[in-house]
Symmetry: C2
Subunit: 222 residues, 2 copies
DNA sequence: GTCTATAGTCGGATAGAC
DNA sequence: GTCTATCCGACTATAGAC
């Protein structure tokens, strides 16, 4: 942390604070204090806070995406299954932890925050840079789940992303709720291990095939 | 909106902005501009921004919780099933829409934000006021899913909450992604209808019963 | 109860010395 | 590349007239 150069120190401090507090709620002053660098150095190295946000995420995407693509290609070349596609996300995610102890968690949380904060500029950045991989993900899931409409798949994939992102984002709060009572160290590994079968079940669920027909199903039986 | 008194106008404007932008990222100036009231009136009526946040949520909890409790009691008196418990959340949620067109969505999003923002003071407020109902929820799910350990249930319930909260929070972004291409008006009703079978599948999933045994499952088969 | 005015703090960004 | 000093805008909160 202290031996790295200024630019890296800023990136590392920003990553942690962005993940824990959000982009808007983290000040450049907090970041530079944590990184033990001068306030003005952020604008010198990155130009603006907005550019810093993109740089923090880009640092992880450059590692995550190529490995994900490689894993997805492997899936495409063998028997395509929902479970196999989900598992393809695990190696690239944990590869990030080589950069920092909690980088996989921070990355996940930042992806989630990209949906609700930053007025979409982070999302557009990702789509521009890695749109091909995103398209491949959709294509593979479509093949694994041929009965699902595009709409239904769209919703379920975002439910799945939400499951992971919410728990990662709230790990501090969840730790307080669970207390020492039962809380087997909410490591990223534990969470991922728990969420994989959960989302697999939701994605492959045979129920809910009533596209555009939302009348009285709510309140009735499933 | 305009005929209401100052206090209500503030609550309504605050609700919308808190849900859309988060608590920390919404200023009293934005709220009072939107509500067409004077800046100082917030502190006159609520004392502080923190108290305003609690007041906004309390307004919905006072409606939501009694109805939820009533629905849960009905479930407890009949055949307890996971599906029935999940459905118990639907009537109280939609009851909120009598206060405002998007109140159900706003309420859901604010509950989610309570986990990651506000340093837990919102969560503690809810636990203090409605801890009995929360305990009843856990108890009913435990009975409906007797094979799940407390830990496993804990994770799955939060995955489920995350699915709903994330999609509700990101509905603006999701609308942009889906475009006119396919996007059947992301009404709260649509989302709830989609998420109920999704979380039911995840909660009742028979796989993943390997508590405290996270060795090589990741990367292996499901 | 509602207003204006302002105190006091913190934010992002930059100029200019070194 | 790194620092100090500072601009300027936005924020919460409050004092005090009406």
């Amino acid at each position: 942390m202290s031996k790295a150069n200024t630019k890296t120190k800023i990136l590392e401090a920003a990553e942690q604070l962005f993940a824990e507090q959000g982009f808007n709620n983290t000040s450049l002053r907090q970041i530079t204090n944590e990184a033990n660098v001068n306030l003005a150095s952020v604008n010198y190295h990155f130009g603006s806070k907005k550019s810093l946000i993109q740089a923090v995420l880009a640092r992880y995407l450059e590692i995550f995406m190529p490995i994900l693509k490689h894993e997805l290609d492997k899936v495409a070349d063998s028997q395509i299954s929902t479970e196999a596609i989900i598992q393809a996300f695990v190696p690239p995610l944990f590869e990030l932890n080589k950069l920092g102890k909690q980088s996989a968690k921070h990355f996940t949380v930042m992806i989630g925050r990209g949906y609700s904060e930053t007025q979409g500029h982070l999302r557009k950045f990702i789509v521009n840079e890695y749109g091909d991989v995103l398209a491949q993900i959709i294509e593979l899931f479509s093949q694994a789940l041929p009965k699902l409409t595009k709409q239904e798949l769209f919703w379920r994939l975002h439910f799945s992303l939400g499951s992971l992102v919410f728990v990662m984002s709230s790990s501090g709060a969840l730790e307080e709720i669970a207390m020492s009572d039962f809380f087997e160290q909410a490591s990223t590994k534990t969470i991922v291990q728990k969420v994989v079968p959960y989302v697999a079940a939701g994605l492959t669920n045979q129920q809910g095939y009533t596209p555009n027909q939302f009348t009285d199903q709510i309140g009735g039986s499933l």
